[in-house]
């Protein structure tokens, strides 16, 4: 792969195109990308491990903080898993409210994406417009749940807040306004020349490649992969809703844009159905603190694709293992494929087109030795000793300070 006149350009871990740290090492020949190496792992937060040390209800708030944008997705996915383990069925009304918040979240996420995509191709006006309109849905979410992000509406066995007729009214008004704006964006996306020039034929991912690389969500659906958990494995209230799974055969970034704006229109439709068919009744049932032993996999269609939670319980009030597979992990393999033989200028939009969320994805990091590429396992004690030794070699010795501040632990 080494080329005599090739140049290596590090896009990341810190770069204006990236909203979160991730590293794309591009080998360029002129403007053309010969090879793209993707490295994740700059955002590992140890959430899965932290989940094992907390009770289920504490974990619910922790998993909600996996992602700032699809927070409801992770919370609902986890809730579904725990409810299945506990053998509880949330009341109908609770499921409808969950679905309502889920679709509002999808609207806010897709509008956010539209703005980011505009920014990545230097079309800042689209960013400003899309994010202005996104405020409408953010206000609705704040009205329904009390929060703009990390809504905290879910609880095991239902939801924590009921919605009133006034809420319904406000949501319907907001949705009408958003639908009108979305129609405008559809016309922009299909008519504005420079936008089409920059999006068409960029980041190609054929139908077969999309399946082989396991692309999910809008990334897959733009390559005619008709997969949507809401349709294939209905959860919450989706089984009772009438909606279309939007697909597109452009296979490129343009197709992914069309799929997302199309999904916005479907979301408006679904929200109207949810509000008019909302059943009466309680919004939550009681779930015991200790969850029966067992293991379960829960699937959820997040705005970026299929989100999956695996929960294993051992009959206590803390889970034995929680595993989260965020949609970005499924899509990131496709990015390296899409970047190959493309122009450097297309790199930001190709990466942005999967709507990446790297901090949601980072689960484990393997630090490999740069020379022999070997990774090893260190215990906490070894890591601590290594750190102390690393600083001591560079002339800084903290061991005495440490002793002074933590007499109980010793050294």
């Amino acid at each position: 792969m080494e080329h005599s006149e090739s140049v290596r350009v590090p896009i990341g871990p810190q770069h204006p195109a990236l909203k979160e740290p991730a590293s794309f090492m591009l080998t360029l020949s002129g403007e053309k990308i010969l090879h793209a190496g993707v490295r994740l792992g700059y955002n590992h937060r140890g959430i899965e491990k932290a989940c094992e040390q907390r009770s289920y209800i504490q974990d619910l708030y922790l998993v909600e903080r996996i992602c700032g944008i699809c927070s409801h997705s992770h919370a609902t996915c986890f809730c579904q898993a725990v409810e299945e383990l506990a053998g509880v069925e949330p009341p109908k009304r609770a499921l409808y409210i969950r679905t309502l918040v889920a679709e509002l979240e999808r609207i806010h996420s897709h509008l956010l994406w539209l703005g980011v995509a505009g920014h990545e191709i230097g079309f800042d006006t689209l960013l400003m417009y899309a994010w202005r309109d996104r405020e409408i849905v953010m206000d609705l979410l704040a009205l329904l749940t009390g929060n703009r992000v990390n809504y905290g509406i879910n609880t095991f066995g239902g939801v924590r807040r009921d919605i009133t007729p006034e809420h319904k009214e406000a949501v319907l008004r907001g949705i009408d306004k958003l639908e009108e704006r979305t129609k405008y964006y559809i016309s922009v996306a299909t008519e504005e020349t420079t936008l089409i020039e920059r999006l068409c034929g960029v980041g190609l991912l054929s139908h077969d490649d999309a399946i082989r690389l396991g692309a999910v969500g809008p990334t897959g659906r733009a390559s005619s992969v008709k997969r949507d958990v809401r349709r294939d494995d209905p959860y919450a209230a989706y089984g009772e809703l009438d909606f279309n799974v939007i697909t597109d055969d452009h296979n490129d970034v343009y197709g992914r844009t069309l799929v997302r704006v199309g999904e916005l229109m479907e979301s408006y439709k679904m929200i109207r159905q949810l509000l008019s068919n909302m059943p009466d009744g309680p919004i939550a049932v009681k779930v015991p603190r200790k969850i029966l032993a067992g293991e379960v996999v829960s699937r959820y269609e997040a705005p970026r694709g299929e989100d999956m939670h695996y929960v294993k319980s051992n009959g206590t009030e803390k889970p034995e293992r929680v595993k989260v597979r965020a949609p970005t992990l499924a899509n990131v393999q496709a990015v390296a494929h899409m970047l190959k033989d493309r122009y450097l200028a297309d790199m930001p939009i190709v990466v942005a087109a999967i709507d990446p969320c790297f901090s949601c994805t980072d689960r484990i990091i393997a630090v490999a030795d740069a020379r022999d590429r070997r990774a090893g396992v260190m215990t906490w004690g070894q890591l601590r000793a290594y750190g102390i030794e690393w600083y001591r070699r560079r002339g800084t010795d903290f061991s005495r300070l440490n002793r002074a501040f933590s007499p109980a632990e010793g050294d």
Binding site: V7, R8, V9, P10, H15, P16, A17, L28, E31, G118, H119, E120, I121, G122, F123, D124, T125, L126, M128, Y129, R132, E192, T194, L195, E197, R198, Y343, L344, A345, D346, M347, P348
Partner: protein, 313 residues
């Protein structure tokens, strides 16, 4: 001697153009913000930015060529200032003029792009070198349409001096309507020269950080930014003098106000383009310039040649 110094330092030189350039930057930023549904900066923001940057340290990368790195912003600022001396502003004559000064002005306006290239290339960082290469590639794309579309009116006026051109078009203002295509092409080329959206690939933030200017900071960056603003004003003045030769006989106050209006109109057009387009890739820029801009510039040359035959005979 005193008069020359006054021309160079105060009017229409450094001080006047500097203030006008920063004001134009404000108009550009404010209009762009309003079009994007934002509030935009207060009127003094460009001045405040300039003063703040000028007060900060300039870091020079160790690997960079020290001389070129420091000299490039100064040359970038000096060349459009020099060019302004040959452009008629509100009268039919410029301060200085000679037969052939239109070529000199065009070349002086090319120099900033060359300094962007040198500054980026000798900063020796990956991003600035990529930006430098793109600046150069873009130069080859827009420069010929720009030259053709500005020289075409000169063909009709039968002179290679800007003052001669404004005298000719001032005498026959309606002939300027023949040059509408030239105005459109040169305005488009100007977007390329100023590296504005949709032709801002050389400093595309999301790809190559800030292109040539990635390593610049403090005073040197302030000079570069001022140079770009001054270049915008001087190039707009050039376009106004060549393509909008109206009201030149009105005398000092009215003519001066009219000149400001013409320049502001062009600045507003530039910021309008900035808001309605997405950034083109560098290969798309080159295709666009050679497929559309250059043929249209040739059409402009033909129109002027034919008009010359018809009108003179």
């Amino acid at each position: 001697m005193a008069a020359a110094l006054f021309h160079i330092l105060v009017f229409p030189g450094f001080l006047f153009l500097g203030v006008l350039a920063l004001f134009a930057e404000y108009v550009d930023r404010k209009l762009c913000a309003r079009l994007q549904n934002r509030i935009g900066p207060p009127w003094f923001q460009p001045f405040a930015d300039f003063i703040k940057l000028a007060a900060k340290d300039s870091l020079v990368p160790e690997l960079a060529d020290q001389w070129i790195f420091r000299l490039a912003p100064v040359v970038a600022l000096a060349s459009p200032l020099t060019a302004s001396l040959y452009i008629p502003i509100w009268r039919r004559d410029a301060l200085f003029s000679f037969e052939g000064d239109v070529i000199v002005v065009l070349y002086l306006l090319t120099i900033p792009t060359l300094t962007f290239f040198l500054a980026g290339w000798y900063a020796r960082s990956v991003f600035s070198m990529l930006g430098a290469a793109r600046s150069m590639m873009q130069l080859f794309a827009y420069e010929i349409p720009l030259f053709l579309s500005i020289l075409a009116p000169a063909l009709l006026a039968n002179t290679w001096s800007l003052s001669g051109m404004t005298r000719y078009y001032g005498a026959h203002p309606w002939y300027a309507l023949l040059n509408v295509i030239g105005l459109a092409v040169s305005l488009m080329a100007l977007l390329g020269k100023l590296e504005r959206v949709p032709f801002d690939a050389p400093e595309a933030e999301t790809e190559i950080v800030a292109g040539s200017f990635t390593e610049y900071s403090g005073r040197l960056l302030a000079l570069f930014r001022l140079a770009i603003s001054v270049e915008m004003i001087v190039a707009c003045s050039l376009l106004a003098a060549v393509f909008l030769p109206f009201g030149l006989q009105l005398g000092a106050p009215a003519g001066f106000v009219l000149y400001l209006l013409k320049v502001l109109l062009l600045v507003c057009l530039i910021s309008l383009f900035r808001t309605v387009f997405a950034r083109l890739r560098i290969d798309q820029v080159i295709n666009f310039c050679w497929q559309y801009a250059a043929p249209f510039a040739f059409v402009q040359v033909l129109i002027d040649l034919v008009a010359k035959g018809v009108l003179i005979s």
